[in-house]
Structure formats: structure tokens, C-alpha cells
Amino acid sequence: MPSSDIPTSRPGNGRPSPAAIATVGLRKSYGDKTVLDGIDLHIPAGSVFALLGPNGAGKTTAVKILSTLITADGGQSQVAGHDIATSPDKVRAAIGVTGQFSAVDGLITGEENMLLMADLHHLSKREGRRVSAELLERFDLVDAAGKPAQSYSGGMKRRLDIAMTLVGNPRIIFLDEPTTGLDPRSRHNMWGIIRELVSDGVTVFLTTQYLDEADELADRIAVLDNGKIAAEGTADELKRLIPGGHVRLRFSDPAAYRSAASALHDVARDDEALTLQIPSDGSQRELRFILDRLDSAGIEADELTVHTPDLDDVFFALTSGSSSAQPKEAVR
């Protein structure tokens, strides 16, 4: 049989790149509502992958399926090289999951939560104590270790949650909206924690509705919209999909505004606000060109801003089609 007939191997002489997570045609629906409509993913080991999407896009469902919490209706998925449908326990041994809602036992203390995890990972008593003390220290929970977890703040609960996930030393970690509901400081702490995980060589599958978070942390980003992957690539690749970089000049003097508009080519005018938009990639050369033109015409703008397309632009451009589906959701 020619090798090109084997779907799992890449054509040519190279071995398939080691994928931590690979899915083909993943589908899931609840009743007649399709949540995931054929998702293909290939996430290399040791990378950070962000699944980005608005609320209700199916991000959590994807995490639940890939972490063996629920079963898919269709498609094939391999996590850590094991099929999630046929050998879920092998998948479970390789992964750690931190959900959207903290998966800690609120009735017992932080330390008891850690020791519970150590017991369930079959560590010896001494090893369990060592690992749990180490992680409590690393996540700044030593002072709170003796208090019931339900008394913790949102950020502390989330830190305990991740610490519990790390007890088993997982190679692949699912983080379902790890910073939702956190204050800015806790959010930045969490980003630091995630970067540390990555430097240890862990594969991170992250879902988020925050674009800056995906931009900040992820090697590759997939935009999920209405159960389908609307776009996938690095943050830069995604940004390149969307035109929209421009220089914006604002004037207070209408005369200066008019002469600037005639001095520059290809401008979009806003006569009411006295602003001009010039398409630009924001490079030094293009900026100098604009400034030279203004100088030689003796015009001074009150304000100059450079706008480069960010993931927000990408996100809104790619998910705008879903606005027709919004009223339906509002009824629910």
C-alpha cells in the first residue's frame, strides 16, 4: 500500500510531526443544536494553542471532549498519541485539566486538596507531602493552606486549581478560560504561571475570549465561531488576514485639515471630526513619508496616531457573521 494512502502519515520521507493533540472532523450536538461542526486541529507537542471564540462558540465543549469528560458524536481525536474514544484512561494519565469553574473541593483545606490529588496519583505519603508543599509554595498558597478552599478568593482558587493539576506532572494541560473573572493583577499572575508551564515543555491547550491573552501566550490561535474554525494561524498570520493598518491625523483648524487632505494622497476624510485616515503598515518609512509631506506643506496636525490591526480586528471580522445568530441566543 502506498504510504500516501495512510492518513496519519505525512507524504514524503519525514515522520509526522509529533502532535500532542490531533483531531479530525470533531462533531458534537445537543439535541438539534450543533455545538462543534467538524473541527480539525493539529497541536505540536510543547506549544501553546489558544482556542479563541465568543461565549457559546463551543470552546468548553471542545475541552470537555478532548479531556475525556464527555464523548463526541463524530470525528477522531488523539491526545498524547492515544485515541480518546478507545483508550480514555491512557489519555487521562497524560493530561491535566483546569476548568472554567474551579475544580477544587471547597469543603476541605487547600493542603488537603493537594494531598487528595497526591493520593489519587498514587504517590507515596512522603512524596505526596513533598510535592504538595512544593506546589503550595510555588503558587503562594502556604499561608492559606490550612483554610477551607471555599474561603479563597477567585485568584487563589484558580492558583490552587492549577497546583492540583500539576501534582500528576501532566505533559498536556487544558486550561478552560483560566483568567475569566479574575482581577487584572491575578490575571497577570496567571499569565506568568502559564509561561512557566510552557518553559517546562508542557503542551498547553488554552481557551479564552480575550484576544490579548491569546496574543500574549499562544504560539498558534484558532478562532472558533458557530462550531467551526473560522481561521487558524499565529497571531501575526491572523492579523495579516485583515487590512486595517492606518495613520490617523486629527486637526482642530479646519484650514489645516483641508490643506492636509489635499497634500496627502489616498486619504479617508472625516469632515465632521476633522480627522484623516491614511492606509499604512505603520513602518518608519511610511511615517516619514507622511510627515515629510505635512512639513513641506507647512501643516501641523494636533494629534497623530498609528493604528496597526490587532486581534480585535481579526476577531470581529471573522466572527461578524454570527451577529445574525445573536438574537437567537438572547431568547434562550
Partner: protein, 263 residues
């Protein structure tokens, strides 16, 4: 690790978790103990004279009625305690920690086994507490042999196990704690319409089948026989059959509910 060793290890970890919960938050179990204790005191001290006069054909004094009443109240204690199990299972299933357990490479059934063993232990503790109160108000079982005592203990364990598995199943199908305590109501209601308070032949004829064909009556009659030396007859086998049937039913029901995709 072999799968049996894994099952034992993970289940005992889960049991420790449940006992920790019960120890730290004992109010649920203690509240459930109030019903059997109140009924015991009410029927002995308030209705006691009338009840024993009615049952014993007029001759029996109150201590005879205490003897008659206690075995039923002990079984009712088990029923009441298992309601707590239904509630705590339902509460637990809404916690994120259960989702975590489901994504870990642990013995699948250990979560439920931990709950069941924990609840059986709580049932026995409750039975001992109510038993001490019964002794304090004059209940004696001095005629029973050691063998009968062991058999009585075995019956209490078996009955606790059966009702607990049913309660766990009820907890698993309940969306929240309130629904669980409603769904588990039969566990405290059935002993009220059994032979806990009066014998079968003191009930109206149309009602007797209702009291007779349910798990509490044969279990109570058997326990009464073992502790007091009254006639057990076919009730012994009936009680064991009920227990085994409920255990098997509750086990498979709970297992199927737990293995379903979580809400």
C-alpha cells in the same frame, strides 16, 4: 498496579474525602437523626400507654412497647441517614472537583464507592447513637445469643448498603440538593407505613399489603426477632432478598447514571 488494587486504593482515598466532609460538617447527618429520635420519644412517652394497651391486648406495659418500637426505629434511622447520602451525592456532582476526577486516570467507580462506604459507616454510627438512646429509655435485648447479635449487625449493614445504593442513584439523577432530598423522601416515608409502630394485623385490611410488600417490614420483623426472640418466619429470607435486590438495582442504576455524560 492491578485493577483491583487500583480500585481499592482510589476508593479508600475517596472514602477518606467523604469522611473528612462528614467530620467537618456533621450537621447534615445530625439533623437527619432528629426524626427517628423524636418519633422514638414521642411514641414511647406520649403515645406509649395507648399504643401498648392497643397492641398487647390491654395487658402490656410501656416497656413492652419500647421493645416493640426500637427495632423499627433503628431501621428508620438507616433510611433517614441515607437521605443525607442522596443529598451529598447530588451536591458533589455539581462540584467542579467531580469533573476533575472524571478526567483523571483513577478507578471510575471509586467516587461512588467512597460515598457508599462512607454512608454505610455513618448509618452504623447513627444506629449506635439511636441505640444508646433506646437503652437509656429502657430497651433491653438480653435474651439474644451472640450469634443473633452478629446476625442483627449483619442485617443492619446489609440494609444500610441496600438503601445507600438506592439513595446514591437518587442523588445522581437529582439536579441539586433540594431535588435530592425530595426524591429520597420514600426512604423516610416507607418506615412510617411499615410495622415500625404497630403490627401488621393491627392495621386495616386494605392497608396490610402496602405495609407488607416493602423492604422495611421484613427487615424490621427480622431484626425484632433477632433482638427479642419473636417469630421471624419467612421474613429473614425476604429481608435478605430485598437487600440484595435493592443493592444490585441501586448499583447498576448508579453506575449507569454516573457513566452518562455529565450535564
Amino acid at each position: 498496579m492491578s485493577s483491583l488494587a487500583l480500585a481499592v486504593r482510589d476508593s479508600s482515598t475517596m472514602l477518606r474525602r467523604n469522611l473528612l466532609h462528614a467530620r467537618r460538617y456533621p450537621s447534615l447527618t445530625l439533623n437527619l437523626l432528629l426524626t427517628p429520635i423524636m418519633l422514638l420519644l414521642l411514641f414511647v412517652y406520649i403515645f406509649g400507654d395507648a399504643m401498648s394497651a392497643g397492641i398487647g391486648g390491654g395487658g402490656a406495659d410501656r416497656s413492652d412497647y419500647v421493645a416493640y418500637l426500637v427495632p423499627g426505629v433503628l431501621m428508620m434511622t438507616i433510611g433517614g441517614t441515607t437521605i443525607g447520602s442522596a443529598v451529598s451525592v447530588a451536591t458533589d456532582m455539581n462540584e467542579g472537583i467531580i469533573a476533575r476526577f472524571r478526567t483523571m486516570a483513577i478507578h471510575r467507580g471509586s467516587v461512588l464507592i467512597g460515598h457508599v462506604v462512607g454512608c454505610v459507616l455513618q448509618c452504623l454510627l447513627s444506629v449506635i447513637l439511636v441505640g444508646v438512646i433506646a437503652l437509656a429509655i429502657g430497651f433491653r435485648s438480653t435474651d439474644a445469643t451472640v450469634l443473633e447479635w452478629i446476625a442483627a449487625f449483619g442485617l443492619l449493614v446489609l440494609f444500610s448498603l441496600a438503601l445507600t445504593w438506592i439513595a446514591v442513584g437518587m442523588g445522581l439523577i437529582s439536579p441539586n440538593a433540594e431535588a435530592a432530598s425530595n426524591n429520597a423522601l420514600p426512604l423516610i416515608f416507607l418506615p412510617l407505613i411499615s410495622t415500625t409502630f404497630v403490627p401488621l394485623d393491627a392495621m386495616p385490611g386494605w392497608f396490610q399489603p402496602i405495609a407488607e410488600y416493602q423492604p422495611f417490614t421484613p427487615a424490621i420483623e427480622t431484626l425484632r426477632g433477632l433482638l427479642l426472640g419473636t417469630e421471624i418466619g419467612h421474613n429473614g429470607w425476604l429481608a435478605v432478598a430485598w437487600c440484595l435486590a435493592l443493592t444490585v438495582l441501586g448499583y447498576f442504576w448508579s453506575k449507569a447514571s454516573f457513566n452518562r455524560d455529565p450535564r
